[in-house]
């Protein structure tokens, strides 16, 4: 009998998700024996055409990581959706937008300005990339960049999400095992994560969650054993799905929410800021405004990974 076919592809991503798959280390060979990897550009030599040639639904499982930022990504998402029995949005970018989603706070023109004009190292030629360039020998084309980054599920129907930036190799492995053993939960479920928040796995001691003032780790050092938020250091753990084992908190810094919102929470950023502000130790209206003023950059502090999947999706530009 033929081995199950699996594929992995990235859209707008950093490659960390593919690295996470490599990070199963020795078990990679085990996997290679057990399945047929039909498409995995990072490591194998299979072409788009090969995927095209497959009958619809021929791929048993596709892990697609990365956000959708160009028409290429979009077409690839549609193709793999069509060819795959099960499509998994792998990693924060595909799941909730991730770091590439920060581009939604700006637009193409602003990015070009920063990269090709304002960067202090660029020379004075004032050239920016064009989608079509005539050369003496012929025309060259570049794909157009979208101004708004989307999550995978905003483009095609997604069967499962596998959160994390990147998803821990163990979680990836477990998800693969579940898929191969036909032990996947009902469609729509989130794989490789818990239904609780980070606090469930966070070893730090919680006494009474009150915040008297906000502190920046730039110039201060938190106590190692105690809840960071209690100490006034921003931590999105309480508003973030568990599954990584509170890696960042264990590393001594606050969570920034890459696992996305816990079940039932519609907007991670809004929920998190509401929670944090609620426990401010302050009963004076004016003072409260001052205190929250101490939090720099609220959007990227509370919605760092989730802007494209949030209710507002992007910054609206005048």
């Amino acid at each position: 009998m033929s081995r199950p076919r699996i594929a992995s592809y990235w859209a707008s991503a950093c490659g960390g998700c593919d690295v996470a798959l490599l990070d199963v280390h020795e078990r990679l060979l085990e996997l290679a024996e057990r399945v047929e990897i039909v498409f995995w550009p990072i490591a194998l030599d299979a072409k788009y055409a090969d995927v095209e040639a497959l009958p619809d639904g021929a791929i048993d499982l596709t892990l697609l990581n990365g956000a959708i930022q160009t028409s290429h990504h979009e077409a690839m998402a549609h193709l793999l959706r069509r060819k795959s029995k099960t499509l998994v949005a792998c990693g924060s970018c595909a799941h909730i937008g991730g770091i590439p989603g920060l581009a939604n706070l700006f637009n193409r023109e602003q990015i070009f300005q920063a990269v090709y004009r304002d960067a202090p190292s660029v020379d004075s030629d004032d050239v920016v990339p064009l989608t079509r360039t005539e050369t003496p020998v012929g025309a060259l084309e570049l794909p157009e960049l979208h101004s708004t980054v989307r999550t995978l599920s905003q483009v095609v129907e997604v069967d499962y999400s596998l959160p994390g930036c990147p998803p821990p190799a163990e979680r990836v492995w477990e998800a693969l095992q579940a898929a191969l053993d036909g032990a996947l939960p009902p469609r729509g479920a989130v794989l490789g994560a818990t239904d609780q928040t980070q606090c469930e796995d966070c070893p730090r001691e919680k006494r009474e969650l009150r915040v008297s003032s906000f502190r920046r780790i730039a110039t201060e050092q938190p106590e190692p054993e105690r809840c960071l938020l209690e100490q006034g250091f921003l931590c999105l753990g309480p508003a973030t799905r568990g599954g990584c084992g509170a890696l960042c908190q264990r590393s001594g810094v606050g969570c920034r929410g890459c696992f996305g919102p816990p079940p039932g929470v519609l907007d991670q950023g809004a929920k998190a800021l509401g929670a944090v502000a609620s426990v401010l130790e302050c009963d004076d209206e004016a003072r409260a405004a001052e205190l929250v003023g101490e939090i720099p950059d609220p959007v990227r502090s509370f919605a760092r990974f989730s802007i494209p999947s949030s209710l507002l999706r992007r910054r609206s530009l005048p």
Binding site: G16, K47, G98, L102, A103, D125, P166, S251
Partner: protein
């Protein structure tokens, strides 16, 4: 005039995150050759307004293949922004972390990519030319050995920083966590194993490549030769260092032309933009932009393992030094211009990284609790430069007095080599694609090898793409119409 048209797969470009456009004249000879990078993500912009201490944990997402490099460069830049110097323990921990990064990054490149060409063979059929093919070739034990040591190097990082991919460890003036004696001992063990493994890798290279006349000739052939400036980082004794030191530039003839500190990079490095690619072309400001040409009059420079070994007077560790001497002799002295030797240089760097990691892991000071100096100065501006596996990496931030980023500039490993990559590809194409000869897979792979030896990581380069880079090669007729498109995987 008439020219043969080969059918085109219109969507093949979808797969290509980088493409090579080769234009042929009537005779079928290469007329012009372009290399394009079609994506951009714009970190420079979306770091604006962010608290600068958050930047090191965000820029790791520039590249999931070398997050460690960006984390280190950013960490150094942020130290500079707050004009604070980390305590010795923190500095050593960072370098140890970083050496481990070099070990697994170079393992990945050599075995998953280069070895496919040399161990499996440049013109073997594509289906086998991959990491699994390599494993078939060298045997499963070696395959497991490779994967295991890639894992060990990452475990060293995770032990130090809490996580290997996308660490959140560096803070202004130090790191967020230290290590216990038990952890130190464990790291030492892993480092020892990596040193041994790096040695085995060099032996494999000896056997499989240097021991093979065909491959040796290929390495020494003029097809893969380039004469440019080289940039790399050296310590006080002009020996290679990855984490910090002075940045030294040597000319096409190997003579030192200048040295600069992190903060001085703008005086020496400039970037040129071409409208047909999202990727910029860095060059030496002093020499200037002369277009895509090599030689002493062109400001283009290489920044690669090859460059680093050309720039350094030697290696800081014994085994690596020995390997380095043999390398220089075999290739007829410095500067080494044979591009394919980059793979060899990479293995020597892997050995150095492992040795250096071992050295540092034995230093009792790394278990000191003094891992951070809290900044007191008003944040302003800072530049952090490290050697990334694929070339020198520069992060530059300006902030307001609240420490919110007002400007971010990034010149990353692969970008440095953008110009040289284009030239190398063009040269290879011109030599290999001759009138009347049908370009086939093997031949195109040879073209691709010119590009792949730089281990281009366009995730870094475009701050937008994954480390691996499937490549599309398009042949175009005189009228610019696409004759054929052949796609290749990346690393």
């Amino acid at each position: 005039m008439s020219s043969r048209r080969i059918s085109i797969d219109p969507i093949t470009r979808l797969e290509g995150h980088g493409n090579i456009e080769i234009f042929l004249d009537e005779s079928g000879a290469v007329q012009e050759c372009y290399f394009q990078v079609p994506e951009l993500r714009g970190f420079e912009k979306f770091l604006e307004g962010m608290p600068v201490e958050e930047v090191p944990r965000v820029v790791t997402r520039i590249c999931g293949v070398c997050p460690g490099a960006h984390h280190m460069a950013a960490g150094k830049a942020v130290d500079a922004v707050y004009s604070v110097t980390p305590p010795p323990a923190a500095r050593k921990l960072r370098e140890l972390f970083y050496c481990a990064h070099f070990v697994h990054s170079h393992i990945a490149h050599f075995y998953a990519l280069a070895a496919a060409d040399f161990v499996v063979g440049p013109d073997a059929e594509p289906a086998r030319r991959n990491v699994l093919g390599v494993v078939q070739e060298v045997g499963k034990e070696v395959g497991l050995d490779v994967l295991r040591h890639r894992g060990l190097a990452q475990k060293i990082q995770a032990t130090l920083a809490g996580r290997a991919t996308h660490p959140v460890w560096t803070l202004p003036g130090g790191v967020s966590k230290g290590i216990t004696e038990a952890e130190r001992a464990e790291v030492q063990g892993m480092a020892e194993s990596c040193v041994a493994f790096a040695g085995r890798s060099l032996e494999l290279f000896d056997r499989a490549v240097l021991g093979n006349k065909v491959y040796l000739d290929l390495i020494l052939s003029e097809t893969y030769e380039l004469s440019t400036y080289h940039v790399g980082t050296v310590d006080r004794q002009n020996r290679l260092n990855f984490y910090d030191g002075e940045h030294r530039v040597v000319g096409p003839e190997g003579q030192e032309v200048l040295r600069y500190q992190d903060a001085e990079y703008l005086e020496h490095i400039a970037e040129h933009t071409e409208p047909y690619s999202y990727l910029k072309f860095p060059y030496l400001r002093r020499v200037g932009w002369r277009g895509l040409t090599d030689g002493p009059d062109s400001g283009l420079y290489q920044a690669s393992p090859l460059s680093r070994l050309n720039v350094a007077d030697g290696m800081a560790t014994p085994l690596a030094q020995a390997a380095y001497e043999r390398y220089v002799d075999t290739l007829g002295g410095k500067p080494v211009r044979k591009l394919l030797a980059t793979h060899w240089a990479r293995l020597i760097e892997m050995l150095y990284a492992a040795e250096r990691a071992l050295e540092l892991s034995r230093d009792p000071e790394i278990t000191s609790p003094e891992i951070r100096v809290l900044p007191t100065a008003t944040p302003r501006e800072g530049v952090g430069v490290v050697e990334a596996p694929r070339g020198i990496l520069t992060h530059h931030y300006r902030t307001d007095e609240q420490g919110l980023v007002t400007m971010a500039n990034l010149i990353v490993g692969t970008t440095n080599n953008h110009g040289p990559i284009c030239i190398a590809i063009r040269n290879a194409a011109r030599r290999l694609i001759q009138p009347g000869r049908e370009p086939d897979q093997g031949l195109l792979n040879m073209v691709e090898m010119a590009f792949r030896l730089f281990d281009p990581c366009f995730s870094c380069a475009t701050h937008s793409l994954p480390g691996s880079m499937p490549l599309t090669v398009t042949l175009r007729g005189p009228d610019g119409a696409r004759l054929s498109t052949l796609s290749r995987r990346g690393r």
